[in-house]
């Protein structure tokens, strides 16, 4: 056990902090609360800037275009990154956070070489086609069908809530290839080119008035057999591992720290009965309580992260980071909105009232989805109860 940084690590921290301060473009700073509502084109551009610096994929080895950071360096990197106020592009999160570890573990050598470098460089944008109208929490009951005809799968059906589908070049998706046995048994994992004929995309407007996700329709879409990941009908096993990665990343520690920092700033600016709200006894305690929760989670995150090696599965422990991190983030943004007082009712009035107000209200609404995507809080608690605590399932 060692909680202090070495001199090298401190130097590294300085370097990262300085680079972000100098290189994160003003147009993207402070656009991140509650999950990014940042314009996808700006996300892609920012991803490319990170790549040019060699920092697009901190977890990946240098020979693949990654940064090859040690576990501690990764932690420092993410922490400093988030504190700069620069967003983590969703592009990176879906492809590198979820799919890349899967390809490393289950993909063919050809698939790894064909897809991973372009994910790291930001050249290709990916989306995740899991959910369907009738298959949300009950993911295994998905119906989108793929039948093998010669060397091609023919895909028919519909996906929904697909983040960034309208900007993606590729989708990784779950399809039903057999409906005879248990519902988990006939599922396969496919990589699909979004430009394939037969794909129709309909953006769906969220409460933020942005369209962060889409419905995607498949009408006899042809997918080459070589785009199957793992074995046919064995996609469910792969999925379990992937969701653990999604959950680990979703806990987004640095963003939480940044959000708390934002509350502190807003409360210092807000005058209440003649002094800054930050000095108000009730408010101070509310904020401090969140800091304690946040720091505890930070240490838990650090513990799990330090056990992780590239390609290794995080395990069901990731569920607790996801559920607690998401809910804590919501509480932090609740307090952020409380801090700005009457301004909390504002919507889209960036010019008159300043961006911090816009971010506070937009971020608050956005944060409501954190406990839904990637497996809802209820589902995560069931995973903790049954897979960690081994409580009876029925």
């Amino acid at each position: 056990m060692n909680v202090s940084y070495s001199q090298d690590e401190q130097r590294f921290q300085e370097e990262v902090r300085k680079w972000f301060r100098e290189n994160a473009p003003a147009e993207i700073i402070d656009q991140t609360l509650g999950g990014s509502t940042l314009d996808p084109d700006l996300q892609i551009k920012w991803h490319k800037t990170l790549f040019e610096k060699g920092w697009a994929a901190p977890e990946f080895p240098r020979e693949m275009g990654g940064a090859g950071f040690s576990e501690t360096e990764q932690f420092i990197f993410h922490y400093e990154y988030s504190l700069s106020g620069a967003p983590r592009p969703k592009t990176k999160f879906i492809s590198l956070g979820m799919l890349a570890p899967i390809l490393l573990q289950f993909g063919t050598k050809e698939q790894q070489e064909r897809f991973i470098p372009d994910m790291i460089s930001g050249k290709t944008v990916w989306c995740q086609g899991f959910s369907e109208t009738e298959a949300g929490s009950d993911l295994a009951s998905l119906k989108t069908k793929a039948s093998l005809e010669g060397n091609e799968f023919i895909v028919n059906g519909q996906k929904t809530w697909t983040s960034m589908a309208d900007h993606a070049d590729w989708m990784f998706m779950l399809v039903r290839t057999d409906s005879s046995g248990k519902k988990q048994e006939g599922i396969s994992f496919l990589l699909v080119d979004m430009k394939s004929p037969g794909i129709t995309i309909r953006p769906i407007e969220a409460l933020t008035d942005h369209a962060p996700f889409c419905e995607v329709f498949f009408d006899n879409v042809r997918v080459p057999r070589e785009n199957l990941v793992g074995k046919i009908n064995e996609g469910w096993k792969i999925t379990g591992t992937l969701l653990e990665h999604e959950r680990l990343d979703a806990s987004a520690m640095g963003e939480l720290v940044y959000a708390i920092e934002t509350v502190r700033k807003n409360a210092a600016k807000t005058i209440f009965r003649g002094k800054p709200l930050l000095q108000d006894e009730v408010f101070r305690k509310k904020l401090a309580a969140l800091e304690v929760d946040c720091d505890s989670l930070l240490y838990a995150f650090f513990r799990i992260l330090s056990q992780l090696k590239i390609g290794a599965a995080p395990g069901p422990g990731s569920s607790f980071l996801k559920v607690y991190g998401g809910e804590l983030y919501q509480r932090v943004l609740d307090l952020n909105l409380e801090a700005i007082g009457p301004y909390a009712q504002s919507w889209y009035n960036i010019e008159g009232l300043g961006n911090s107000v816009h971010q506070a209200t937009m971020g608050w609404i956005n944060s409501r989805s954190l406990t839904t995507w990637g497996g809802s809080s209820e589902i995560q608690r069931t995973i903790i109860a049954t897979r960690i605590l081994n409580l009876p399932r029925k």
Binding site: W161, I204, I271, P342, Q345, S346, W347, G352
Partner: protein
């Protein structure tokens, strides 16, 4: 002690409910989203024809002279449907303030026009640096040419984009946070030195920033007595707060109803999700919160009707409870709707946004909690 509604109240509830059903829908809210006002004058006129603008005003000004419980019934139904028309600002704040403290001439000029649905009036009292305090006022009123000259800035003036008249607080004496020394002035939208910056609120309604730059008013524009506007304002804000609580209760009720329907219909893992015990408990908690909020609101409304001494305490109790309960109920509802709840295509999200706006309207839970502590003597 009697918390029951009379048959007149119940009859009135039915007619308001059927009006809301006929004239309003959530799609109307979607259609009005980009509108600078966020409501329609046609619907307002129809409401006026039914006599609702004069609900609590005396008959001599064209009103119906009914008790405050009718306000609760009306606003609960508005809250169920999220009717966006500015009844609270015009009738419960603006007109009510004129009625409570205005001169005969002011009443005759303003109240019948409100009753007819021809005039929108609102109250402007919030300022930067004062959060929700009614007595915090940096806007000054200096004597000039036999009248006054007003300068200052008011923020988040409720329905301010469409108001014809503003009743503003301005300081005629005292320090920035004194209750004494506040005077209420009526000022018209088009008057010189009046600048309006429109704002959109989260729930699609409007508010404005009101800048007064040497705006001239005369002595006859004062409501109540010079330097003594605070008690008048405080009483009317209390009434409006009780009104908004009723609206919040209606919103909670509708949110719970929608959620229960969703829990019964949405199937996952081969069964309605409402059969999962965790979700049943969440729905049960929503119900408990709603019942507490409704009861506190009923008590506040009855206290206003009876003009009891503790009515401010009852109002703050109700608003504290409603502010937290409405948010709790709508956040849980969102959670139980899954991703669907996060879209503008589902109706439930309208309630979450309205819950946030009404939470801060006339003071959030913390503000009212502090008032409760003070009024309880600690």
């Amino acid at each position: 002690m009697d918390f029951e509604l009379t048959s007149e109240h119940l009859l009135f509830r039915e007619s308001v409910a059927s009006f809301v059903k006929k004239e309003h829908s959530f799609n109307r809210l979607r259609a009005l989203k980009g509108d600078p006002w966020g409501y329609s004058r046609d619907v307002w006129k129809k409401m006026a024809e039914l006599g609702w603008m004069g609900l609590i005003y005396p008959e001599e000004y064209g009103g119906l002279g009914l008790d405050f419980t009718f306000v609760m019934v009306l606003l609960e139904e508005f809250g169920r449907g999220l009717l966006p028309e500015p009844w609270i600002s015009t009738v419960l704040l603006g007109g009510n303030l004129v009625l409570a403290g205005g001169t005969e001439a002011q009443k005759e000029e303003i109240i019948p026009a409100i009753v007819a649905g021809d005039l929108f009036v609102t109250v402007a009292y919030l300022e930067d640096g004062g959060r929700y305090d009614l007595n915090f006022c940096a806007t000054s009123a200096r004597q000039k040419n036999g009248g006054f000259s007003l300068s200052g800035r008011k923020i988040f003036v409720l329905d301010g984009c469409s108001a014809d008249r503003f009743i503003v607080t301005a300081r005629t004496s005292g320090d920035i946070s004194d209750a004494d020394g506040l005077t209420l002035f009526i000022i018209s939208r088009g008057a010189s030195g009046v600048e309006i910056t429109p704002l959109k609120t989260m729930d699609g309604r409007n508010a404005c920033i009101l800048d007064l730059k040497d705006a001239s008013v005369s002595e006859s524009d004062i409501i109540g007595k010079q330097d003594d506007g605070y008690p008048l304002l405080a009483d009317i804000i209390d009434q409006a707060t009780a009104g908004v609580c009723a609206e919040m209760v209606g919103g909670m009720d509708a949110s719970l109803e929608m959620t229960v329907r969703h829990l019964s219909e949405r199937v996952q893992f081969g069964r309605p999700i409402g059969s999962f015990q965790t979700l049943q408990h969440k729905a049960a908690d929503m119900f408990i919160q709603k019942e507490l909020a409704a009861s506190a609101t009923y008590y506040a409304v009855a206290s206003i009707d009876e003009k009891t001494e503790e009515r401010s305490l009852a109002v703050s109790t109700a608003k504290t409870k409603c502010s937290s309960a409405y948010l709790e109920v709508t956040k849980t509802a969102m959670q139980l709707f899954g991703a669907m709840g996060f879209t503008n295509e589902a109706d439930i999200g309208f309630f979450l946004k309205r819950a946030k706006v009404t939470e801060v309207l006339f003071g959030d839970a913390d503000y009212h909690l502090a008032r409760v502590a003070t009024m309880k003597g600690y």
